[in-house]
């Protein structure tokens, strides 16, 4: 099964089994991972699902679409080069993605 590792800002990690086609945000919310708020439920309107993706994973992801990039200017913790909105990231077959959540989403 594909999996996603969520590490919080203190360094604590959780590994969650994911379903192909779900978003990285949905996967987190369903298993109660703290650190991802996702107020708007994935409609690209809140920027509270912000994550930093680890280098290896970054290359495997499709690049940000224009609106994801725009919304990343609205995050609570400043964006970095590896910032993504997790509601826009789809879990694919065999993926083993590692993301870090920011200290705050709001």
């Amino acid at each position: 099964m594909p999996k996603v590792t969520y590490t919080d800002h203190t360094g604590e990690s959780r590994i969650v089994e994911a379903n192909v086609g779900d978003s990285v945000m949905e996967t987190a919310v369903r298993s109660g991972v703290p650190g991802i708020v996702a107020e708007c439920g994935g409609s690209l309107s809140c920027a509270t699902c912000h994550v930093y993706v680890d280098e290896a994973g970054l290359a495997s992801l499709p690049p940000r679409a224009e609106m994801e990039d725009e919304m990343l200017w609205g995050t609570a913790e400043d964006r970095r080069d590896n910032s993504r909105l997790s509601c826009q990231l789809r879990v694919t077959d065999g993926c083993d993605l590692r993301v870090t959540t920011p200290a705050t989403q709001v």
């Binding site: 708020v37 439920g41 309107s45 725009e70 609205g74």
Partner: protein, 419 residues
């Protein structure tokens, strides 16, 4: 008032509807609690809506946009009278909704363009200007020798209105006019007006819509650096959106963009000042303001009820709902549902999950302006805490809320202060 016994033994004005009065906004919360406990999905024949009051049911309806359409979200609750209809027809009023009552695929297409124009970068640059406006308004209030003010009139009325007019590129000197048009839109759509009462409001809506179309026509001529200018440019570059649709988005933003933020700022100060110990916490540590704003949104949402329509036979919380049924989702009730919020009736800025409120809706129609609304309210609270930490509600302030199905807005928030 004689008290009557309901199933749970609580006193209420109308046992049939558990005390719920659709247009009464002074204190709807006891009736919400009774509805949640006794009839969480209730058909209210007085308005023709199925009234839904539990958190999980409301969130599920918001999420399932394929079954529950928002096409009725802007329909007049009380049918338009013949005079109003004639005025609007003759005045060329053809607006219905910018976004909230549109459905996919049309909604998806227009929302994409509106969202691209309305980005965080667009409004974040206004932060210093918003802050300067708050300071100017508060200082003007504090300069009054009688040491009395009204936070609705003196602060909340103008602040978000200036911001949205600036963003849209409309005339900032016409705050009064735009507010009057918005009040008319609110009353005509969600109010309980007689045919005669509708007439002046119908005239206002004609003027309001004419201004929206004028703004689009003007943007074609002058290519301004504004939201309207951006949308017109996107259209020229091939984004599929018509002039009528751009004008409709303006019609939407020139209402949604200030009305509910005026209410949020008013409510934030009203509720915090009526909990002086929590106001003190905010004054001592302004870092707590964002959480306080979320708790105000939960506890006292600007919009307490929003509408959907069932597109097929379905069910909500185990109650059969027929195809075509109109549904009223009481977010004001969801936000206090004990199954989600412990001690839901208590205001507590340290509540860990206040953000789970449904005050901005949920799903594909989730409020486009949520970040701008919170940004402005945060700045307003920061500056009031700094400039007027000793503010308090005026003694015997008897605060009332306008008669409306959806919008719960205080008419005034009277305050006073020591020198």
């Amino acid at each position: 008032m004689t008290s009557t016994r309901t199933l749970a033994g609580t006193a209420s004005a109308c046992p049939v509807h558990h005390g719920y009065e659709p247009f009464d906004q002074d204190d709807p919360f006891p009736s919400y609690a009774a509805l949640r406990a006794q009839e969480p999905v209730m058909f209210d024949e007085r308005i023709g809506y199925w009234v839904v009051s539990r958190y999980d049911d409301i969130k599920a309806v918001f999420e399932d946009w394929e079954t529950f359409s928002s096409e009725n979200a802007q329909a007049p609750v009380r049918e338009r009278g013949p005079q109003a209809r004639q005025i609007m027809e003759e005045g060329g009023f053809t607006a219905y909704s910018g976004l909230s009552a549109r459905v996919p695929p049309e909604h998806t297409r227009i929302r994409k363009v509106a969202a691209k124009a309305f980005t965080p970068r667009r409004f974040k640059v206004l932060e210093p200007e918003i802050r300067a406006n708050v300071v100017r308004l508060i200082e003007a209030m504090l300069a009054r020798p009688e040491r009395r003010g009204d936070l609705v009139r003196d602060l909340a009325h103008d602040l978000p209105t200036i911001t949205i007019l600036t963003l849209i590129g409309a005339d900032v000197d016409k705050i009064g006019t735009f507010k009057r048009w918005s009040d008319s839109r609110s009353a005509m759509t969600w109010g309980d007006l007689s045919d005669d009462e509708q007439v002046p409001h119908a005239r206002n809506l004609v003027d309001y819509w004419a201004e929206c179309r004028r703004l689009v026509a003007e943007a074609h001529e002058t290519a301004p650096d504004s939201l309207v200018g951006d949308m017109v440019r996107m259209q020229a570059e091939g984004d599929p959106i018509s002039d009528h649709e751009i004008a409709s988005v303006c019609y939407s933003l020139l209402f949604a963009g200030h009305e509910t933020t005026t209410t949020l700022i008013s409510n934030a100060l009203r509720v915090l000042l009526s909990h002086p110990e929590q106001w003190q916490c905010v004054v001592e540590d302004t870092g707590r303001i964002p959480a306080a704003v979320d708790e105000v949104l939960r506890y006292s949402p600007s919009i307490v009820g929003w509408r959907r329509r069932a597109l097929r036979d379905t069910e909500i919380g185990g109650v059969a709902i027929p195809k075509g049924a109109d549904i009223l989702l009481l977010m004001g009730s969801a936000n206090r549902d004990e199954s989600r919020f412990e001690h839901g009736e208590a205001f507590d800025i340290s509540r860990p999950n206040a953000r789970e409120h449904l005050s901005f809706g949920f799903g594909i129609h989730y409020c486009l302006g949520n970040m701008l609304a919170k940004l402005q309210t945060r700045i307003a609270l920061e500056e009031v805490a700094r400039l007027a930490p000793g503010l308090r509600l005026a003694d015997h302030a008897d605060i009332h809320f306008g008669h409306n199905l959806s919008f719960r807005a205080p008419a005034a928030v009277p305050v006073t202060w020591e020198d």
